[in-house]
């Protein structure tokens, strides 16, 4: 079996096991939509703030589910990988001719697939709610590409946590920390409208702000080269760091095995 075939098989397994757990499918689809509805409803009047960059708060906030969904996918994928370790599946797999790169790529292939499905769902809900992408159809394609890259980047962090700790609970423990990154960002207001200095500084230092702003630019601005370059740059960087760390953790774990 070639490495590509091994990767495809493990990716298929990753997707199928996610689909077999309805809670893992429904929660990442519905929870971000619920938070979007609540925030967009409650903060609708923020549109009246001088300098607010969109006519509709819903369109402004639509970027957030793409990042939140990636966090969910990461947790699910990391937890599944940790379960493989806890149940001994990884040990049995290591006795087969499977290449370690195929394990990582297969696992992340599953994350990317789920992430893409989620992104299509969020985009569909946004369009159905009357949001029109300023960047047009090409922008929608770029948005899905960016959302997929973000899912891959966060997925690699989840894989690292799973391989390093071998514990599903430890991976779940990452979720609040990632949620902090989401909330201490420009998710609810543009950075220039955040009044409290330390919060604005924290949001500026927080890479998640740039991921959100990249997605948001495609929805409410059009083609903002700087926002897109930062978003793709940060997603790519997080992905490289995560993949490097996960590869190292896998090597260490297989050596132990």
């Amino acid at each position: 079996m070639t490495t590509a075939a091994q990767t495809a098989e493990l990716a298929r397994r990753s997707v199928v096991r996610t689909l077999r757990q309805p809670a893992n499918v429904v929660a990442p689809l519905l929870f971000p939509m619920m938070l979007l509805a609540v925030n967009a409803g409650g903060l609708n009047s923020a549109e009246q703030l001088p300098g607010f960059p969109a006519d509709s708060f819903f369109a402004f906030a639509l970027a957030v589910p793409f990042i939140q969904g990636a966090l969910f996918a990461t947790m699910n994928a990391g937890t599944d990988l940790a379960r493989d370790i806890q149940t001994g599946f990884l040990n049995r797999l290591s006795l087969s001719p499977m290449r370690s790169v195929a394990l990582l790529a297969g696992q992340l292939g599953g994350v990317v697939t789920i992430g893409l499905v989620q992104a299509v769902f969020y985009l569909g809900v946004g369009l159905a709610a009357g949001v029109r992408l300023e960047s047009g159809v090409t922008g929608a394609v770029v948005l899905l590409l960016l959302a997929t890259l973000i899912a891959l980047a966060f997925g690699s962090l989840g894989a690292f946590a799973a391989l390093r700790t071998g514990s599903g609970e430890a991976v779940q423990g990452l979720f609040p920390a990632l949620f902090v990154f989401l909330f201490i960002s420009s998710m609810n207001l543009p950075r220039n409208l955040i009044e409290i200095d330390w919060f604005r500084t924290a949001a500026t230092l927080n890479p998640v702000s740039y991921l959100i702003e990249g997605v948001r630019s495609l929805i409410i601005v059009g083609w903002d080269t700087q926002a897109l370059a930062l978003a793709f740059g940060f997603a790519f960087s997080i992905g490289v760091v995560g993949l490097t760390a996960a590869s190292w953790a896998l090597r260490v774990r297989l050596t132990r095995t």
């Binding site: 609540v38 409803g41 409650g42 009047s45 923020a46 955040i194 919060f199």
Partner: protein, 257 residues
């Protein structure tokens, strides 16, 4: 009566001991409200510039009341998780066998939830004051505000206890948590109800939590409004959920836990 008190104190002591000796249980219940307070009061303070927003103590105080009530409600829900865990582990079965007056079990868990929330509320209040929250109300107003939150805590605990005793599994967590989350966020969280529009305004206007929030905010500002209504709503919720919890206890007894 003495039997109920003895059972309640024993159950409360055990639940409190469990929480305060286990950082994994204690820290989230303290950190999450602080985190929400930071994210909302820090990140959204500019919302107070929206035309029509007129709240004396400022946006920090506006959000403090929401987070105080939210911490009270979630303190109760977290206690419900503990009850479900006790049923899953088999401890509750032994408790039901040993307790001479079983309604003391519900009372005991409620006492434990109260102690747990008082800890969270103390930390939250100190942080809010240090962050520069303005307080317009006098001691009587503040007593009313914390009294209101205390009844909310009792109501949420009784709700979660009723669910936990019916389903008797940790998987019931979302059933306890999600309705509380929704009812809290479908209230005027970010702006006063007058500034809400559309569907969220329609829901918030019939949501009982709106009365609690508005009265709580008026007490913090020192301009009490609709306080009797809010206490009436809170007491009615607590009474209804007390019945729900006791009937849940009877179900658990009938099922042999």
């Amino acid at each position: 009566m003495r039997g109920i008190v003895a059972v309640a104190l024993a159950v409360a002591w055990r639940a409190i001991h469990n929480v305060f000796t286990n950082p994994a249980l204690l820290i989230p219940s303290i950190v999450f409200p602080l985190f929400f307070f930071t994210a909302f009061a820090g990140g959204l303070s500019r919302v107070s510039d929206v035309p029509g927003f007129d709240y004396g103590p400022g946006y920090t105080g506006f959000q403090f009341v929401f987070v105080l009530l939210q911490s009270a409600a979630f303190g109760g829900v977290f206690t419900g998780f503990g009850i479900a865990r006790d049923f899953e582990s088999g401890f509750a079965r032994r408790l039901l066998l040993a307790a001479p007056r079983r309604s003391g079990i519900v009372l005991g868990y409620s006492l434990a939830a109260l102690v747990r929330w008082l800890t969270t509320a103390s930390v939250l209040t100190v942080v809010a004051v240090v962050a520069g929250m303005n307080i317009g109300g006098g001691p009587v107003d503040l007593f009313g505000l914390y009294g209101l939150a205390l009844i909310v805590n009792a109501a949420a605990t009784l709700w979660a206890a009723g669910v936990a005793m019916r389903l008797r599994t940790m998987q019931a967590g979302p059933v306890m948590q999600m309705p509380v989350f929704l009812i809290l966020f479908f209230a005027p969280v970010y702006v006063p109800i007058d500034l809400l529009q559309g569907w969220i305004e329609a829901i918030a206007s019939i949501n009982p939590v709106t009365a609690l929030l508005e009265a709580g905010r008026s007490l913090l500002a020192g301009e009490p409004e609709h306080v009797a209504l809010a206490f009436g709503v809170a007491v009615a919720l607590a009474a209804a959920f007390a019945l729900w919890a006791v009937r849940g206890l009877r179900r658990a007894e009938a099922a042999g836990a």
